[in-house]
């Protein structure tokens, strides 16, 4: 019986092709909007995730405490509290994959006639591991070169472009604060960071060389930051606590004394960002679903017209034995069919636009099974919800009155 009624509902929609199409248009636009919005939202979320993981995943950053001279704070990292030995100790903690001590200072880099103001970072080879950064060309320096204080440098893309232009920088010399370094590697391009800063605008040299040659002899063994790569996201909090305990002990801090360092956890940033992007995509979907509701009202409108037009048909059906339940079911099925076919076309349209759009806006949009399932579930509910009243009106008709019309 249901199969026959479905066939009849289909026949009724086909009999009024243009009207059915126009009615469905509301659903089509609504569903397409929701699918598209969710796809864009999902794409943004993935994009954000990707740039966060570009910062180095499961990363903890230990910064030296603020230096203070006569009550005036010098800003985070300006103190001399963090030492290379601390980095070695941290590297020995469980669940720590690598710990890279680093210090950095602004400097004017000169190569032949060209010069450029940039940041020179001194660190160990672990720096590249922790930051998931590789040499795109040439090589990074070795532990031996680092310990020996070799005069070698690895350049970021932007610095290489400014100093050498189209020429191959490998093997060339770069002068920083009067010291000559041989360029041995060119790093992969990383693009912008979250603050919009150019993350490729950097020169990395061995930490020992930076401390000996560039930093003067003021803070010999002291460094600004230790970047710590943790084995898994679950272990982050534990490692953070371990580092705090370890450093408080080695720095001989008594209980009650404030930490002379900070441990920053990047997952906090990640979480905030994904919460924000999720909120944005939900907002977009909510806007899309308003048009779904409008589409549902369109269906109700046309179903009411249809019931009025087909009063006589309803009377005939009742006379030959259709129960009120059967009449209601027939009109509900028609409403449901309108909304579900509309939904199907809407999903195809939304996914198509999303696909076409990813080429234009430069990142992948993301049409998920979840979004499509939700679209169909919501459309079915809308069909039943907005079809109920017209169907009930049809079912409540008196057969005699209906036949007389």
């Amino acid at each position: 019986m249901i199969a026959t009624m479905l066939a009849e509902a289909w026949g009724a929609l086909i009999a009024n092709r243009l009207r059915s199409m126009l009615t469905m248009l509301g659903m089509i636009i609504g569903v397409a909007a929701v699918i598209l919005m969710l796809a864009i939202g999902g794409g943004v979320q993935k994009e954000v995730q990707k740039s966060i993981s570009g910062l180095g995943s499961n990363l903890l950053i230990v910064t030296a405490g603020a230096g203070r001279q006569g009550g005036i704070f010098g800003g985070a990292g300006s103190g001399a509290s963090l030492r290379i030995e601390d980095a070695d100790a941290i590297a020995g903690l469980p669940d720590v994959k690598a710990a890279a001590p680093s210090t950095s200072l602004p400097a004017q880099a000169v190569a032949g006639p060209a010069n450029w103001a940039t940041n020179v970072t001194g660190s160990t080879p672990a720096y590249f591991l922790v930051n998931e950064w590789q040499a795109g060309d040439g090589r990074i320096f070795t532990d031996r070169e680092e310990r020996a204080g070799a005069r070698v440098a690895v350049l970021g893309q932007s610095v290489a472009d400014k100093l050498f232009g189209a020429n191959d920088p490998i093997g060339q010399m770069v002068r920083v604060r009067g010291i000559s370094f041989t360029v041995i590697g060119l790093l992969e391009k990383r693009g912008q960071g979250f603050g919009g800063q150019d993350r490729d605008d950097v020169i990395v040299v061995p930490l020992t060389s930076a401390l000996r040659l560039l930093g003067g002899n003021f803070f010999r063994r002291s460094i600004r930051t230790v970047s710590v790569s943790v084995a898994s996201a679950e272990a982050l909090d534990g490692v953070q606590d371990d580092i705090t305990t370890l450093l408080r002990r080695t720095h001989r801090l008594r209980s009650g004394e404030v930490d002379d360092f900070q441990v920053a956890n990047l997952t906090a940033i990640t979480d905030t960002l994904s919460t924000t992007t999720r909120a944005i995509s939900l907002l977009l979907a909510a806007i899309g679903s308003i048009s779904l509701v409008v589409g549902g009202i369109g269906i109700m409108n046309i179903m009411l017209v249809s019931v009025t037009e087909r009063t006589r048909e309803i009377g005939i059906r009742m006379a030959i034995g259709a129960s009120r339940a059967a009449v209601r079911l027939q009109f509900l099925l028609e409403a449901l069919m309108l909304s579900l076919i509309g939904c199907g076309i809407g999903v195809a349209l939304g996914a198509g636009i999303a696909f076409a759009l990813s080429g234009v806006i430069g990142f992948d949009t993301d049409v998920t099974v979840f979004a499509v399932t939700i679209a169909f579930a919501v459309s079915a509910s809308i069909g039943i919800f907005f079809g109920w009243w017209p169907a009930t009106r049809a079912a409540k008709l008196s057969p005699i009155e209906a036949l007389r019309s």
Binding site: A3, T4, R317, M318, A319, G321, A322, L403
Partner: protein
């Protein structure tokens, strides 16, 4: 002979702006299985109301209407729908076929509501179309058929669930006289061949003449109940006799 349907002092009131209008003033009537009869009366006599009650499309305000011994007042809406579906076959003046459906689908429709499986439905509908003489047009839509052919489809549809009662409302009213005679002959065949009880509501004496019994209704009362005599068919002498 057992009574297929029995009306006992049936009263029907309609509420109107002018107050309550009484369409039927206590009608008592009994129809046996296998009868072939006509209900006659001028317009406004209450014969349509009577037909609606007999057809279980409407319920009486007072009195009792029994179909196969069951008081219809005790039946739910759904049970009444089932009774219309299986117990009664309707034939209307304007055929009342569904224009979107083919002849075959129209005939099969009552069987959809009685839950007959698709294959059986279609083969039975095809047999019924053949039995009313239009077995060659199952795929035609009503608009492609003549009035007589449409009424034959309607007759086939009314027989779909082998009803106890065929209830026809002016079945020849929209047909030319030759086709009308053919449709009446079809009723006669069904009545004599298959023993179907046929009740025709009409104001046409020529239609009523073909039946075995005439019930005349006037002003909501049974005025005459007997064989189709000339007086009964035309009503003049009855009115004179009554006054």
């Amino acid at each position: 002979m057992t009574a297929l349907l029995a009306l006992d002092d049936v009263v029907k009131d309609y509420a109107s702006e002018a107050g309550v209008f009484r369409a039927l003033h206590g009608v008592s009537l009994s129809v046996n299985k296998g009868e072939f009869m006509a209900i006659m009366g001028p317009s406004g006599s209450g014969k349509s109301t009577l037909m609606n009650i007999i057809g279980c499309l409407d319920t009486p305000t007072g009195g009792v209407y029994r179909f196969e011994g069951v008081d219809t007042a005790s039946l739910s809406e759904t049970a009444l729908a089932r009774l219309r579906n299986k117990g009664i076959g309707f034939i209307f003046q304007q055929f009342n076929l569904l224009p979107r459906l083919t002849a075959l689908a129209n005939v099969a429709l009552p069987m959809v509501y009685s839950g007959v499986a698709k294959g059986e439905r279609d083969s039975r509908a095809q047999r019924l179309l053949a039995s009313v003489g239009i077995g060659d047009k199952p795929r035609s839509r009503p608009s492609q058929l003549s009035g007589g052919q449409q009424q034959r489809v309607a007759v086939a549809r009314s027989l779909a669930n082998t009803p106890k009662l065929l209830l026809a409302d002016e079945p020849t009213g929209a047909l030319d006289s030759k086709t009308g005679v053919e449709v009446l002959a079809l009723f006669r065949d069904l009545n004599e061949g298959q023993g179907v009880t046929v009740v025709i509501v009409t104001h046409d004496p020529e239609v009523a003449r073909a039946t075995n019994r005439v019930v005349r209704i006037q002003d909501g009362r049974v005025f005459y109940d007997g064989p189709p005599t000339e007086a009964a068919l035309y009503g003049h002498d009855l009115a004179a006799a009554a006054s």
